[in-house]
């Protein structure tokens, strides 16, 4: 091989090496740039999907609330009014006017049962649409809820509040109220608790809510392993409502035993 051919070879070697290096560098930069772009579009897509899910969830909860409102007003204004009219008519009948003793006793029993029915209908109507929430705010409504469930001979439900309440949007107050309602229901149904404590705190623009009981507590392994509906409809509904509030929910067990659920959210 002559000198000219050798020089050509060496030139090819350097051009080839430089070319390969440029190509490798180009590929590395392309990967970095393209991966970032793909990741950005993936995150945007995920955010869009999450927003859509949130809107869907909100629409479902709104329609549930509307349905509750409709049933509550039907019960209060329809069934309740009719029962009151029946009571009025029954009151016109005097037990003394009855032909015999048995009829008189039946009339008194019927009146008693009717009173209970009217009271039950009122209770259901109130539960479906807590008037206190709109009129007096979240703290008062939750206090009423606790008082209603509290039973000195059985399950005790204690309520405590801290800080000055800040009124929220009607929708938000209803969501928080429903969460508390669900947490208390869960404790009654599953925890075998003797005592439930509900605490509401308004500090530094944050609403801190805690519901604690002295029951069996959570099986944390099971709670952590499962997600979504597998955790149970109750917890799933709570998580969904909390996501609409942009609130953090923490499920844990008390050191002394029993469950502890904490929720915190910014209230401006």
């Amino acid at each position: 091989m002559n000198d000219a051919q050798q020089s050509d070879f060496i030139l090819t070697l350097f051009i080839g090496t430089a070319g390969m290096l440029l190509l490798a560098g180009g590929i590395v930069f392309f990967v970095l740039f393209y991966q970032k772009r793909m990741l950005k579009s993936k995150i945007e897509k995920q955010e869009m999907e999450a927003n859509y899910q949130k809107k869907l969830l909100k629409a479902t909860i709104d329609s549930q609330e509307k349905e509750r409102e409709r049933i509550a007003s039907e019960l209060h204004d329809g069934v309740g009014a009719m029962l009151s009219t029946v009571k009025l008519y029954l009151n016109l009948l005097s037990p003394e006017a009855s032909a015999n003793q048995e009829d008189a006793e039946s009339l008194t029993d019927t009146k008693g049962l009717l009173d209970d029915t009217i009271e039950t209908v009122r209770g259901i109507s109130k539960e479906l649409l807590p008037k206190a929430l709109e009129m007096s705010g979240l703290t008062k409504a939750v206090e009423e809820l606790c008082d209603k469930i509290d039973n000195p001979k059985g399950l005790r439900v204690r309520f405590a509040e801290e800080g000055a309440e800040k009124r929220l949007e009607k929708e938000k107050e209803l969501l928080v109220y429903r969460i508390i309602q669900e947490l208390i229901n869960n404790a009654i149904k599953h925890s075998q608790a003797q005592k439930i404590e509900v605490k509401i705190g308004w500090q530094n623009g944050t609403l801190n809510l805690a519901v604690m009981d002295d029951g069996v507590g959570f099986d944390m392994d099971e709670v952590n392993q499962r997600s979504g509906k597998d955790r149970g409809i109750g917890l799933y509904t709570i998580e969904n409502r909390a996501s609409l509030l942009n609130a953090d929910v923490d499920f844990s067990n008390n050191q002394e035993g029993g469950a502890r659920i904490e929720l915190s959210m910014q209230v401006g």
Partner: protein, 218 residues
Amino acid sequence: MLLGSISSKLYYVSVFSVLVPLTIFIINWKSRNSLIRLLGLLVITSALGDFVPFISARIVPISGNLYNLFQFLLLGLIFRRLFDNQAIYKVINILMVGYILLCVIQFLTVGIAVRIESLRYSSAFIFITLSLCFYFKMIKDLEVENLLKYPAFWFNTAILIYFSGNLFIYIFSEMLPQTHRFYMPINAVFNSTKNLFFAYAFWLNYKSERVGFKLSVR
């Protein structure tokens, strides 16, 4: 003369650059990440290969050929771990068996005491391809938020740059013995780059394990 002086300086830089990833690997010693362990083994093999000429220049071709074989097997194991895919797993296994057979045939026919360049450029082709495939996987999977903080990315980049940079010199060395004088400086530059990238991969893994979250491959 000037080339010789630069070449010898680059050679020493290249040889001692292996101590950088080796030191960080020793700090990372307790890492449970299998990729890091395999990479550490590769760095130890590389250090042994680099320091052999200080012991005896006569065994350099033998150690070079054996180093090629071990390097191929270790890189094969690392890529097998990185892809975590049954089909690629099988392909890499076939490539590893094939390379061992090629080495045995070459050692028997050409002899182990002669530097066999075909072993080098065949492995360069294979690992450039695997490296490109791994980049494709990273783009496709989108599992890593920031590639620059991902040890496997730096390992892969080191492999791509090292083999791409050396490919032509491996091919030309066999065809034209005169190009041997360029072999050392070119190889030294890319070997040092590879070692520094490996060191950064070890460092990223060390940092991620200390703060308690996983940045390295699963």
